[in-house]
Amino acid sequence: MGTAGPQTAPLLALSGVSRSFDGVRVLDRAAFDLKRGEIHALLGENGAGKSTLMNIVTGVYAPEGGRYLIDGAPAGIRGPKDALKAGIGMVHQHFRLVDRFTVAENVLLASGQLGLFANAGEAARAAMEAGKAVGLAVDPAAIVGELSVAERQRVEILKVLALGARIVILDEPTAVLTDQEAGALLLAIRKIAAQGRAVVMITHKLREVAGHSDRVTIMRAGRTVISGAPVGTLSAGDLGRLMMGEETSPAEAAEAGVIEAAAPITIAKPGEERLIVSALYAGGGQGSVGVSDVGFTLKAGEILGVAGVGGNGQQALAEAIVGLLPVAGGHLTLDGWELGEFSVARRRDLGLRVVPSDRFASALIGELSVADNLALTRVRTGRYRSRLGSWLVGRRRMKREAEQAIEAFAIAGATPARRARLLSGGNAQKLLLARELEESGSGVKLLVAHSPTRGLDVKACAFVHAAIRKAVAGGAACLLISEDVEEVRALASRILVMSAGRMVGELPAGASASQIGALILGQA
């Protein structure tokens, strides 16, 4: 496999590595090793410790005990700088880019310590070249904050490559991509490995493990239950079982392997018109794509899927409906109310619920506790009114409800008092869903969900889908904006395809992935 000749010392080897946060053991004697030229999949449920393990590899967290070798010698990594020097580059789950800098400046920032002058032109060239070699391109002069999530990820990868990393760690790289983009990325990853680098790919998608990696390490509750097994020796069922625990039945595990392609569902017959969007214009300018001349109707009991490559106006569409972006033209009505001038709060009062694509940017407050985050959108309803007076907040009720939500949504690592920022990526998303969907049936009239399962493991993914279906069955309508074609196919009762800010086509439920793909690529 790859360029590695006689197997001498592995490129990187960790063993017996532990780590606790606030007395909770998050990593428990984990073991991990890497060879040149391989793609090494790292698998595990939300909160299993994958990101933590990789943060130890990159020097962000210090390990407690254990051994860490690079090329067979003690690594001596005391911080991110040492890891960079050793040639270890990581694309984090939550990107590490300076939004206000250009692509070139971001590459430059990451590219080592030498030289006084900032030669952005040179950095741009290096990044472009690295990108070309593996088939990923991005405009070096673009401002990062104005790029789509998918493009930002590309910047992150180019950054690592331009750095000349020997070890490339990707934390859930395909979670944010459409199938086409993911396909291109997986090809690029193969090319990166063929250059003699080692690639670590953290993922929840079992098919990526089976089809696109050489070895696999599986984590469960902080332990590496399998470390570096050749992929060929394990079936999808084995992978699922190892990941979720022995108590998982084979059937359940097998289902986990294919859950992303779940059969399209039938939903109760659509009811009255909920959301009417007509000739809507919003956003755009400054390099971001807005919405132009978009119109559609969404009925109660219906899930309308919006498919398309990220950065084609989905963000603007969601924000216009939510009330974060002013409507520049056209109309938006929810249950007959013209939304145009309504504040976000009034829209919520009408039953609008939102799961935005970037949870920490516009939904959760990382520095607040889990209980506070849950109460955030509800507190104005007077629900937590204390017995002492309506302007006081009853903390006890907040705490109790938080405990219930943690239990109901299986939010690992959460306590009511813990800061939201400390949750793993998938669990933060569960927290958000718990808040937005908890009142299913009663309050929820319209759910705008933008990439709601980004970064969730298979179990959680199924959970979210079920929760959305339940809300819709209870009479809500759902606008599902997703870059994951399979997700749209699995849930939507109608599918719109969005490109360059416009709706370029509509397909019925049951449309094939290739039909949708053709529309997305403008080949219909």
């Binding site: 960079l84 920032l109 002058f117 920022r421």
Partner: protein
């Protein structure tokens, strides 16, 4: 009228330079994410130390050097509190101002009101007699030219050097800078020290260049105005030059207007710079562009173990 204008223009640098140097120092600190309210204190240290050392050593250049060190030393205390121990930046800044005022009052007392000779002025003869701008351009002391060159150098350095890039990254997004291998604390501490040094120099400008004497409280709020200037300048040293000219110009006009016999109560007139400050801040806020330029993590302590 022409006489008035010429005089006003010639005296402009003496009023604008202290503001400019302090503002640019603050810009460095804030671009690295450290909200530094201590300028008034550093300037006080600089003004007093500059005067005292010039009086004792007999050489104003040594005084200038000592003022720079004194400003940096006080900023060092602030850096230890905020960057190393992550104390609240606003409170630590206010404490620094009080400390600066106290130290200068105690050490400077014996030297109060003692005059000395300051820095030499350039005198290129004929050139300086150009109408209107001759004095402004050619009859300044060396420090004015050096200071301006320094500001331009820093402006360029922030944009075009790696060090500048890293410093800006630290202020925008320290976690990202950290994983990129930038020593966040080192850069923040460095920026704070540079800020102290520049403010110290600004103070020295007041005592050694502008007045050749030290008086208690001679900084007189200029540290606060510099803080507002930073916002006016949208954290850009080049724009700070414009701001310093406006604020310094207003300041410079006051004594001249009074000398002309303007019938305005002195106390009211001397509130002018502050009124101007408030006006500018309101305009900056109304313009809505402040948030576009403000370093994103300004005022926030960075702790690596925090998950981002």
């Amino acid at each position: 009228m022409e006489l008035f204008l010429t005089g006003w223009l010639t005296s402009l640098p003496a009023f604008a330079m202290p503001l400019l140097l302090a503002a640019v120092g603050l810009i460095l600190s804030e671009r690295a994410g450290v909200l530094n309210m201590g300028a008034e204190g550093y300037m006080a240290m600089g003004a007093m130390t500059g005067a005292v050392v010039t009086l004792t050593a007999g050489n104003p250049w040594i005084g200038v050097g000592a003022a720079i060190l004194a400003g940096a030393a006080l900023a060092g205390l602030f850096a230890i509190a905020t960057v190393v121990f992550r104390a609240d930046q606003i409170l630590a800044g206010l404490a620094t101002v009080a400390l600066g005022g106290g130290i200068t009052a105690v050490i400077g007392r014996p030297y109060l009101h003692k005059t000395f000779t300051g820095l030499p002025r350039l005198d290129p003869g004929a050139l300086a007699d150009l109408p209107l701008v001759g004095g402004l351009l050619f009859r300044q002391d060396l420090l004015a030219y050096l200071g301006l060159a320094l500001v331009l150098l820093l402006w360029w350095g922030l944009r075009a050097t790696r060090t500048g890039l890293k410093l800006r990254a630290v202020g925008e997004d320290p976690a990202t800078a950290d994983v990129a291998g930038v020593d966040v604390q080192l850069y923040q501490a460095g920026a704070v020290l540079a800020c102290g040094a520049l403010c110290g120099l600004a103070g020295a400008y007041l005592s050694i260049v502008s007045s050749n004497v030290w008086v208690e409280g001679m900084v007189n709020g200029r540290g606060w105005i510099a803080l507002a200037l930073v916002i006016f300048a949208r954290w850009n040293p080049a724009r700070a030059i414009l701001g310093a000219v406006i604020f310094g110009g207003a300041d410079a006009a006051l004594p001249r207007l009074l000398a002309l016999g303007a019938q305005v109560p002195t106390y009211l007139l001397s509130t002018l710079p502050y009124l101007l400050t408030i006006l500018v801040l309101v305009l900056a806020a109304l313009g809505g562009r402040r948030k576009d330029a403000e370093p994103r993590s300004l005022g926030l302590a960075y702790i690596r173990q925090d998950r981002r």
